[in-house]
């Protein structure tokens, strides 16, 4: 546990028990699949067994003839959309693609692609009906690997896809959806200055967010067109907008209530089941509940991209990096939209490199559409860049932390996309590890130590909150942010701090789309920053109102009332005239002084500071089996101000744990027919407790001036370094650089054999 800097705050920076803890540990919390509705039908998706196939026909007559079957939907039940990219490039949405991902039209583009769905009176009946739906496929050649998908003779997913971002535009279609490029300085001159140049190719596997709770939802569409949806999502306002658009409804007719959520990590931002459940409900006139199996989660929801990359870095003998170049080819899955732009922007972001370029390719292949996963894109490019930097450090003979410190980005450093960095934080994470006692601890045989850093933008944007003072002096707060990482507690802490009352007096809730203002999804490490800003703003309005009410009670001007320690106190000429009034006392007189005491605030929060982290780990390689054991893991992260330090530490530990899985075991494995071989936790190996050491989270607090209490996003950047840190440690342990993830026992054994053969 971090012994963080003594705080001037009473509640911010403390570690109270989480408000959602009791229902979770007693099994009473309501997750997506827990909603029971009288008379609800059960919906089931019929999915393509083929990686790539033309859909010739769908015949549902036998299924519909089965007693208890109430509706079947196919793509014909969803309006088609114009082919156009709407919105910004990274998140540009093309509803022509999205509606085809929800339900295949002309072709099935990956194993698990929805082709039809059925609603029936029971789960078993829905399964029986699903088996009766006859689908005639023409199986087509498929492509899985990103490099193979880019080859000129690759099977095409879209026969008319012309690569965007190349001028003049190519004449021939390909699977390359987009090329993008960022550059500063003069690469040629930069590499000419270098004493050593290192270049290397890297590959990463597609990995799933592996949230424990599968996707689940229920929908009810009334005869008048109004709809209610209950779902496990990271962003219920997004579910509302997407479902309305995909079904041709208006947003005002859709109300979405988020359930408790069993993990998301970016993978529960898109919609999958919700539009289908709503379409089935519309057609059947009954509520429809749908729950994915684990198999469906793996085959049909977004993993993050696998990638093929090349990185080149030049440096002087003193360690000064003079130039850096990188090419990042990302699997987008079956539809465009990998996080390759983020990868390009983050790749060299921790460093002051005057001459740098990143080139990215967004490439479709016969896999499920990639979805966001914790700092999407950044961990992938970090694996390549941070591994290459380790080779540079070895060649020069400089400590890897010192190499990073020498080249660290600081305020004023020009970023590859143009602006100058505005915030401190990176250097402080390096210094925290340089001074960490374990960094100099001796290592044993077959052991190695690896270092890596990470960068993530963090998010801001739109958030809403309300604060209500109850008649007994307790306070109810609501936000539009789904609580994934403990935000109900951090919101309550910030409200208690601002109001000057006890944390136990504040109850914190997540509201549905009809009960609180618009709020962007819980993602991008934005909630504590943006929604926290809204909570503080609403709480400040409450303080102003409480001062007004005290002024009414005392019959003085409001300027003669100040708010301190949860009490209205006389100020100025009134000092000594009145005894302080507590929030509870003012609340008791709410009717007499003007009615309910409530406030709402909505913000479009900007000025979020980026996240920096530096981490080191010690590993031991078993020379016989190739198993890598992580012995020690230390992660220093700039967290701004830790509102609830235990949750901040938890975020860091969680990100590192996922990174360890990504580094050592996790991967999508396809057979020769393009079918996923390991769609379950038995064969897709996420880390289990014995795989993870006690991860030491070192909280570095460089406050963010744009947040009332200095908070920065903390949820994502921690997953950026582990893959490279572990690869670097393995290299130091066995003397062989691994450049492909996962670094599983067979790959380690092969590396050891190569060492022996040298």
């Amino acid at each position: 546990m971090n012994d963080i800097t003594p705080s001037r705050y009473k509640w911010v920076g403390t570690r109270p028990i989480r408000p959602d803890g009791v229902p979770k540990v007693t099994g009473r919390a309501m997750y997506g699949a827990d909603l029971a509705m009288a008379g609800a039908l059960y919906g089931k998706v019929i999915r393509s067994p083929h990686a790539h196939a033309r859909i010739r026909s769908i015949n549902a007559s036998k299924a519909l003839a089965l007693p208890g079957v109430r509706a079947v939907v196919t793509a014909a039940d969803f309006p088609d959309h114009k082919f156009e990219y709407v919105g910004p490039e990274r998140v540009a949405q093309n509803f022509w693609h999205i509606t085809r991902n929800i339900m295949a039209r002309e072709k099935a583009l990956y194993e698990g692609h929805p082709v039809a769905a059925v609603a029936a009176a029971s789960k078993s009946l829905a399964e029986e009906a699903a088996a009766l739906i006859e689908i005639d496929y023409e199986v087509l050649p498929h492509v899985i690997d990103v490099d193979e998908a880019m080859a000129p003779d690759a099977p095409l997913l879209f026969e008319d896809m012309i690569t965007r971002g190349i001028e003049p535009a190519p004449i021939r279609p390909s699977n390359i959806s987009k090329k993008l490029e960022f550059q500063i300085g003069d690469l040629e001159a930069g590499f000419a200055e270098a004493d050593i140049v290192v270049e290397k190719e890297f590959k990463t596997a597609a990995v799933h967010q592996a949230y424990i709770e599968p996707h689940a939802c229920a929908a009810r569409v009334e005869a008048d067109g109004q709809a209610e949806i209950w779902t496990a999502t990271q962003g219920h306002f997004g579910v509302r907008a997407m479902t309305a658009k995909l079904l041709g409804m208006s947003i005002g007719d859709v109300r979405v209530t988020p359930s408790e959520i069993g993990g998301g990590f970016g993978g529960k931002i898109p919609v999958y089941l919700e539009p289908i459940a709503a379409a089935l409900s519309k057609k059947s006139g009954r509520a429809v509940k749908m729950v994915m199996s684990r198999d469906e989660v793996f085959k049909a929801t977004g993993p993050t991209s696998g990638a093929s990359m090349w990185v080149k870095i030049g440096a002087k003998k003193d360690g000064t990096i003079t130039a850096a170049d990188g090419v990042f080819k990302f699997q987008a899955g079956a539809f465009p939209g990998s996080p390759v732009m983020n990868a390009c922007l983050c790749a060299f972001a921790p460093y002051n490199i005057p001459n740098a370029r990143t080139v990215g390719y967004d490439v479709v292949s016969n896999r499920p559409k990639a979805s966001a996963y914790r700092a999407p894109g950044s961990p992938i490019s970090a694996f390549a860049v941070e591994s290459t930097l380790d080779i540079v450090a070895q060649k020069i003979g400089i400590d890897p932390l010192q190499l990073r410190l020498k080249n660290a980005a600081r305020p004023g450093t020009t970023m590859i996309y143009g602006p100058k960095m505005a915030h401190r934080g990176y250097v402080e994470t390096l210094e925290a590890l340089i001074n960490h006692p374990a960094y100099q601890a001796p290592l044993g045989p077959n052991q190695g130590r690896g270092v890596a850093s990470g960068y993530w933008f963090n998010g801001g944007g739109e958030s809403s909150a309300t604060v209500q003072v109850n008649e007994d002096g307790t306070v109810t707060i609501t936000t539009g942010s789904v609580d994934i990482g403990g935000s109900r507690a951090s919101m309550a802490l910030m409200a208690a701090e601002t109001l000057g009352i006890d944390y136990s007096q504040v109850r914190s809730f997540v509201a549905d789309t009809a009960s609180v203002g618009f709020t962007n999804p819980t993602g991008g490490s934005r909630v504590t920053f943006a929604t926290g800003t809204a909570i503080v703003e609403a709480s400040r309005k409450i303080v102003d109102e409480l001062r007004k009410r005290a002024a009414v009670i005392w019959d003085v001007d409001v300027d003669g009332v100040l708010w301190e320690d949860g009490h209205a106190k006389p100020a100025g000429a009134n000092v000594g005239d009145f005894a302080p009034l507590s929030l509870k006392e003012i609340a008791a007189k709410k009717a007499l002084t003007g009615g309910p005491i409530t406030a709402a605030a909505s913000v479009n929060a900007g000025g979020q500071a980026p996240g920096f982290t530096t981490q080191f780990c010690d590993v031991e390689v078993d020379p016989e089996t190739g198993k890598v054991t992580v012995l020690r893991y230390v992660a220093a992260q700039d967290v701004g101000k830790a509102i609830h330090p235990s949750y901040v530490e938890g975020q860091i530990q969680g990100g590192v744990a996922q990174g360890i899985g990504w580094a050592l075991n996790e991967e999508y494995i396809y057979d020769k027919n393009g079918r996923l071989d390991n769609p379950g936790f038995l064969d897709y190996r996420v880390p289990v407790a014995p795989d993870i050491p006690m991860i030491e989270a070192v909280l570095v607090e460089v406050p963010n001036p744009a947040h009332p209490y200095g908070a920065k996003g903390v949820g994502e950047v921690n997953i950026c370094p582990p893959m490279a840190a572990i690869a670097n440690a393995i290299d130091h342990a066995i003397g062989r650089r691994l450049t492909e993830l996962p670094m599983s026992p067979p790959r380690i054994r092969a590396a050891l054999d190569a060492v022996a053969a040298d």
Partner: protein, 86 residues
């Protein structure tokens, strides 16, 4: 405030698509609204693209596009593609 001038920069891709490759502008404006308005006068229709497709870095700090965002004398305003988190 009157007389405030900001240095405004578009990404190369964005400038290629919408401003015939011109990337940098000196614009007298005290808020982001003024910058967007001035650019839209130079390139009619550009405001909608800026509002829908970009986020903005003002002196290195990232912000969503908001009309009321204040600018200081000499502020550097970079319009960059929007980012997405997980």
């Amino acid at each position: 405030m009157p007389g405030t001038t900001a240095r405004v920069v578009l990404s190369s891709g964005f400038s290629r698509r919408y401003t015939s490759g011109t990337r940098e502008f000196d614009i007298a404006a005290s808020s982001l609204r003024g910058v967007i308005k001035a650019l839209d006068q130079l390139y009619p229709g550009l405001a909608e693209h800026l509002e829908k497709e970009t986020t903005v870095a003002i002196d290195g700090e990232l912000h969503e596009i908001g009309y009321l965002q204040p600018l200081r004398q000499g502020s550097e305003v970079f319009f960059i593609p929007k980012l997405e988190g997980g």
